[in-house]
Symmetry: C2
Subunit: 438 residues, 2 copies
């Protein structure tokens, strides 16, 4: 009961994914998938690191990962020396303390590097809390009473769209049948869609092959990157549609490439190939622009979220009917706590949550959030899918497990956020062996 | 012509302003005004540092200034080794290169720590360019033809509100009478308003005294911080109105303290004291919320901008009629270039620009932007004022000069952004003497 946090250690870990154009899209031609990684250590669990450490990370795509790492370090004074139990018993309080630190707040507020740093730390604390409870995070969250879940949320700036009372009502509604839904997840898992076929840097033959492989693996939805060249997009969309047939859902993703007018014209040109959704048609900051695009390309739905900086932006996108799928990201907003708020907002507006994943470890994280959403908030998997990309899972100690296009429910205690120590060392930037081999 | 950039050096400079509650407001009770300061050095002007160095900074309020400093350092590789003339001849190009670096962009995009870092570097380059031209920045900008000014702007995500053609038209309109307006500025300066009386940490007697001093100094507008306690605000507003009389404009500033409903109720309660504008009533990210507040408290106008992260957010605030005064900040968006876009957006929508200032060196910077706005864009000073706070000017080599409530036009070459070397050393964090005296 008197255990304390003893250190917050960071690691700049980068994978040289740009060498094979994995992850290439219209705005990100050569990403090196990276993690600004944090281990929060306590004086508990000597010899049993899994009980005494919380692991988390912010995902970046290379340059600047050292800035992100430095930002996480800046949060060490808020934990080191404090009582572990006190902090973990009130993660809502800790999250608000970090977000409202009056000096750090100036660097956002609630956006960009500092907010992603808070995400890494908050998620690491949830990892530790779940490990200590002996539960995978989704089950820990699913075991919490509605009142406790409401306490996790910061309702500031939300009250014109969602009040604590409404949130409580939504969560109380979700208490019925929780155990049954947990069993469903344990048996069937949660549906996924495959992004790997559609990276912009892949040629037509590779696209067709990967589409076929995705169908064979049981996926019923894939995603194509678009937005660099319309002729290319039409050709690639035709190929994908031919391979997939009419019933498989094909989403397209422009990665913020367009202005409002261009988005409308481009999507209309792609319409004959029946895109399931259009993702990130323009700046993630442009809620008014998203609303205008959504209105003009209807009934083709708009999806966005991986770069949406916080719950205030999601609130507005929902208020303006600007999006039909909420693509929350596990490590861009302030971690589990802010994502609970986003799940509740989506439920209030009746919009399905289909998380962004891929990168480094994002699949590992978001599966917990979607499963919690199903058990305690939305209570349905209808039209809900988690993005799946088959990269870099081997570097985690509890990697996602896929079965016939579904994420199998994680069973190990924690947030599945722990990277193998060997990987952390091998891909350390700039001194790890991978970065020192010509 | 073959001179090159040789280094980009950063300095973590912090002033212990929290010790006197200077700068205290409802969200920032104890700021330590700080600069993540950058000096960009070239191999030009040996012995004449003023020709060979560009100075810039991001403003923060203390903790995290080391993160901001690290972010600026991350931009060194984009300059060091390059030809000075080539870069300075195309600052639009350099700005876009920094903003669209595909890997760094992930850390925003265009917001928070990384964007403020770009601001510091872009502004330092403008400082250097103006020094080399032998002109204060406002005069350099005012001497540029409309076509060159349009080239400074990034129109991506703006085209549904402002096209390059419209911008060109606005700027061509501004070419007539430029010289006359320059002479007006040289003679009369640019009107200011005083924020110093109204910090939340000051007691009633100090408030009344400072109001009187502001009037005596020639100010016709002051500002009060509000939002922590309604009874206090009503009492302080009454005192200020009594001292100032009915004709002096009294703006109020809530520093993001309220949700939408609270903002409306609170402002209505203050209405009998005739507030000139209500500043930052809620989250700077909430354009929909600002629009709702503006609609419900009309005719009391809404002002915002110091935390508005980029031109895309300003665009939406203007599209939704959510604000009546654009309070751009010199060092939060990506420097001069993005601020030219914001000035053009404001002109397009017919909204006055009244910049945010104060902090460390922000008054020194924004005076150049408002004067350029008057000469080349808006062509009027009607209802336009620059914020003025009388702190920390003594640390700059070309401090603002005030006369009867006006900023006098800067005359020295550059962006007035150069901090005295002694100050940089004395307030260096954590090793400077100021931080080592108990």
């Amino acid at each position: 009961m008197t255990n304390r946090f003893v250190s917050l250690d960071t690691y700049d870990v980068r994978f040289p994914t740009s060498r094979a154009l994995d992850g290439s899209d219209a705005m990100n031609p050569d990403p090196d998938y990276s993690a600004a990684y944090v281990v929060i250590r306590t004086d508990d669990g000597a010899g049993k690191a899994e009980q005494g450490e919380g692991h988390g990370f912010a995902f970046t795509i290379g340059r600047g990962n050292e800035v992100q790492t430095r930002a996480i370090e800046a949060l060490a004074p808020y934990l080191v020396g404090r009582l572990v139990k006190e902090v973990l018993d009130d993660l809502g309080g800790l999250y608000r303390e970090l977000v409202y630190d009056s000096q750090l707040r100036w660097l956002g507020p609630e956006k960009g590097v500092m907010h992603m740093a808070i995400s890494a730390v908050v998620n690491a604390l949830w990892d530790l809390k779940a490990k200590r409870a002996g539960l995978p995070l989704w089950r820990l969250l699913s075991s919490m009473p509605a009142e406790e879940l409401v306490d996790l949320v910061d309702f500031r700036y939300l009250s014109d769209a969602l009040t604590p009372q409404e949130a409580l009502k939504l969560l109380r509604r979700g208490e019925d049948g929780r155990e049954e839904r947990i069993q469903t997840l344990l048996q069937r898992g949660y549906p996924a869609y495959a992004t790997s076929p559609g990276w912009l840097g892949y040629d037509d033959a590779k696209l067709a092959t990967l589409c076929r492989e995705a169908l064979d693996a049981g996926f019923t939805q894939i995603k194509l990157k678009v937005g660099a060249d319309l002729e290319d997009d039409l050709r690639r969309m035709r190929i994908a549609r031919e391979v997939c047939g009419p019933d498989v859902r094909i989403a397209v993703d422009a990665n913020q490439r367009w202005d409002v007018g261009t988005a409308v014209d481009w999507v209309r040109a792609l319409a004959p190939f029946d895109p399931w959704w259009v993702e990130e048609p323009t700046s993630p900051d442009d809620v008014v622009g998203h609303a205008e695009i959504a209105r003009r390309i209807a009934p083709i739905p708009v999806a966005t979220g991986e770069h949406v900086q916080n719950r205030v932006m999601f609130k507005q996108l929902l208020q303006l009917n600007a999006l039909s799928f909420v693509q929350l990201d596990a490590a861009r907003v302030a971690g589990v706590n802010e994502n609970v708020a986003i799940l509740l907002l989506a439920a209030k507006f009746g919009v399905p949550v289909c998380p962004h994943a891929g990168g480094v470890g994002l699949c590992e994280l978001v599966q917990h959030l979607s499963m919690f959403d199903y058990v305690a908030v939305s209570r349905t998997m209808h039209d809900r899918v988690i993005e799946y990309v088959d990269h870099l899972h081997e570097h985690f100690t509890d990697p996602v497990r896929m079965d016939r296009g579904h994420y199998l429910a994680p069973l190990q205690p924690g947030f599945s956020s722990t990277m193998r120590a060997e990987s952390r060392a091998r891909y350390a930037f700039p001194d790890g062996p991978v970065w020192n081999t010509p």
